[in-house]
């Protein structure tokens, strides 16, 4: 078992004919991910990397029954690609693209309210992987190992670091989910923890958070209400200096939330073990 993604998920790649899209489609396929097609407007009817290419997501779904999509299109087109996937009926949208303007993502979030079946991961995230089964995105397969630890993270390279330490210690993962580091994104820590909670194959979770926003605090609130999962949290940016703020608007709305201290305290209050360095995590899970 796993969350969100397994070997039966039917995946398309938006931007499959691009450099990044091609590279990672190959990697996704080599792991066994069921990549059933790709989208690249104007290239409909052709074949790329052994899968059919379509002009639109709607066409791709009609022909392949796809239910998940990985988005690798350039930033100026990525917000539109997310909305297209949702409107066409995709239920898991994974947007790897970095650099989407925040105002576009705010509009996308509002658009998605009209498509409650569509879950968005990212943007600006490494995607997700269910070790040994399937992945959408760019998380390297070789640092992962099937198992029962759920890993959810805002940072790409820290995810790799922690995953490879876990794998090296023989501690496998159920699903690794990179939710992305952008201020406005899809699935949150809380959403993913809720899914891990319901997944019988997951017994422990690792959360890798960052300063800024209150998503870690919200996840801690959820865990504080009781969980069957053993949880370890790590927050990066504990010693980062306060940003040079311009104007008061940010301070008015965020108050004291968003600091590493506030996040760590929230987790401790919820009974979650807090790691001060990533090296400590493996030991804490034993």
């Amino acid at each position: 078992m796993s969350i969100l993604l397994d070997s039966s998920t039917r995946v398309i790649v938006q931007g499959i004919t691009g450099r990044e899209g091609s590279l990672h489609t190959e990697q996704m396929k080599s792991l066994g991910t069921k990549v059933v097609g790709g989208v690249s407007p104007g290239k409909g009817g052709t074949t790329h990397l052994g899968v059919p290419v379509f002009n639109t997501v709607a066409d791709a779904i009609k022909a392949t029954g796809a239910n998940a999509s990985g988005i690798f299109v350039p930033a100026p087109f990525a917000a539109d690609a997310i909305m297209e996937a949702a409107a066409a009926g995709i239920t898991l949208i994974v947007c790897i693209t970095e650099g989407i303007p925040i105002q576009e993502m705010i509009r996308v979030k509002d658009f998605l309210r009209g498509y409650p079946q569509a879950r968005l991961l990212g943007a600006n995230c490494p995607g997700l992987i269910t070790p040994g089964q399937a992945k959408i995105g760019i998380i390297p397969q070789r640092i992962t190992k099937p198992g029962s630890i759920g890993l959810v993270s805002r940072s790409g390279t820290l995810t790799y670091e922690v995953a490879s330490a876990l794998s090296a210690a023989g501690m496998g993962q159920s699903t690794i989910v990179g939710i992305g580091g952008d201020p406005v994104l899809g699935l949150t820590f809380r959403d993913v923890i809720e899914m891990f909670e319901k997944d019988p194959a997951t017994t422990q979770v690792v959360l890798i958070g960052e300063i800024g926003g209150s998503d870690e605090e919200h996840a801690a609130e959820l865990l504080a209400r009781g969980t069957r999962l053993k949880a370890v949290a790590f927050i990066s940016g504990r010693t980062a200096p306060e940003g040079k703020r311009m104007g008061h608007a940010g301070a008015i709305i965020s108050g004291n939330r968003g600091t590493a201290k506030s996040k760590e305290e929230a987790f401790r209050k919820a009974g979650v073990t807090v790691a001060e360095t990533t090296d400590e995590i493996v030991g804490m899970l034993r």
Binding site: A75, P76, P101, I102, Q103, E104, M105, I106, R107, K109, D110, F111, P126, I138, I139, P140, R142, I143, R154, S155, G156, T157, L158, T159, Y160, E161, S164, G181, P183, V184, L185, I208, E210, G212, G213, S214, D215, S236, G237, R238, T239, A240, P241, K244, R245, M246, G247, H248, A249, G250, A251, I252, I253, S254, G255, R257, E276, T277, T278, D279
Partner: protein, 395 residues
């Protein structure tokens, strides 16, 4: 991109918002001439950071002579790490009341928020703490923008119903900064009601989303060069790096923001003080590493550099070779500790060792090592730093 006050005001004026007459002055003489034309002025430091008033960056001048003296004092002063490049001389306003009007992104709500308060001015953050209800809030739908009835509610909620007409018009104009300029923050504080009854932007803050810079190249061209006060950040921006200056002496390079931030944490934990945050993203090509090192070495305080790279797809040996090339091209002699992880990490470490670079077994070891190597060091010599980009670029 954070615009300076006068730049933000020019943009707001293009949206139809009233601003007081004003002129930019780069020298005390220019300030004096501006005052001659404008009459009594406020001489204001132009820096992309708050708190300049309390730092002495705003002075009132009634005569050209006073304006000259004010500009002499302000131009070149340091405000929160920004050297003031110029002042803005603005006609003094006869203030009847001060209102707060701000727009920003509320990342927890994943939405835009408009805020309005009758208690505008410098103490607005205190107001937010003491009586949050005195700041009226509106989350406009991002496709529709604020609707008239929502603005009516906002204005009456703020207790500003007597100014409903001019304020609603003003807020609609301010909000145009979202669709038209990809604004992340747009703030007018104080929004001044003059004794004559005009509603005028007393100050202005505007931050444009860097991710949307390609849509606003005109702004970048017109204002970009002037904005960033920190020379290393300016240079990093030119080289396309994600770089933030800090005030320590250990250079930090990492791939990925999280990894970079945790490296910073570890160095600090080991007793060191980072001189910067520098995220070189995925891949870690020689050219990018060279750019990052070059910017870090511009700073004379830097005594050593730690690089923390996790190779996702890139192989460790390739990363190692890239780092060596970069170091050699820059002729860098300062201590350099590299922590490499991922495919072929052992091979990579071997290559580093052979080339005289200290490899860290893990990030914590690397952090401890660089702190150890830089603590005992004598003040660095120009020779040890290698050729600086400033010298090479003829700056």
């Amino acid at each position: 991109m954070k615009l300076l006050e006068y730049q933000a005001k020019e943009v707001l004026a293009s949206l139809g918002i009233a601003i007081p007459p004003g002129e930019v002055a780069r020298t005390p003489d220019e300030a004096a001439w501006a005052c001659g034309r404008l009459g009594p002025v406020a001489v204001k430091a132009q820096v992309p950071v708050g708190g300049r008033g309390k730092a002495g960056g705003i002075k009132v001048a009634r005569t050209p002579d006073e304006a000259r003296r004010a500009a002499e004092q302000i131009i070149g002063m340091d405000i929160k790490g920004f050297k003031v490049p110029l002042v803005y001389c603005e006609a003094a306003l006869e203030i009847e009341r001060e209102i707060y009007l701000g727009f920003t992104v509320d990342r927890d709500a994943r939405a835009n928020i408009l805020m309005l308060s009758a208690k505008g001015g410098m103490d607005i953050e205190q107001v937010a703490d003491d009586s949050p209800d005195s700041i009226a809030r509106l989350y406009p739908n991002p496709w529709r923008g604020p609707l008239d009835f929502e603005l009516t509610q906002l204005v009456f909620d703020a207790g500003l119903g007597d100014l409903a007409r001019p304020l609603m018009a003003m807020i609609k104009k301010l909000y145009r900064a979202v669709p038209d300029y990809d604004a992340l923050t747009a703030e007018i504080n104080p929004l001044v009601v003059t004794k004559k009854g005009d509603v005028v932007a007393g100050d202005a803050k505007l931050e444009i989303d860097d991710n949307a810079a390609w849509r606003h190249k005109d702004l970048e061209q017109k204002y970009g060069a002037l904005i960033e006060g920190d020379p290393y950040e300016v240079e990093a921006k030119k080289r396309g790096l994600t770089y933030v200056s800090l005030d320590g002496d250990i250079g930090i390079i990492g791939n990925g923001a999280g990894l970079c931030m945790s490296t910073l944490d570890l160095v600090q934990r080991a007793g060191g003080r980072p001189s910067n945050f520098c995220d070189i993203g995925g891949g870690a090509k020689a050219e990018v590493v060279e750019n990052a090192l070059a910017v870090i070495l511009m700073n004379p305080k830097v005594k050593g550099v730690v690089i923390n790279v996790f190779g996702g797809i890139t192989r460790g040996d390739e990363v190692a070779k890239g780092i060596i090339t970069a170091r050699d091209n820059l002729n860098m002699k300062l201590p350099l500790v590299v922590r490499l992880s991922g495919t072929n990490e052992e091979e990579g470490r071997e290559i580093l060792k052979r080339n005289g670079i200290e490899p860290g077994v893990n990030a914590w070891a690397a952090a401890q090592k660089i702190v150890e190597l830089t603590k005992s060091d004598a003040p660095t010599t120009a020779a040890a730093r290698g050729s600086l980009p400033g010298e090479r670029g003829g700056e």
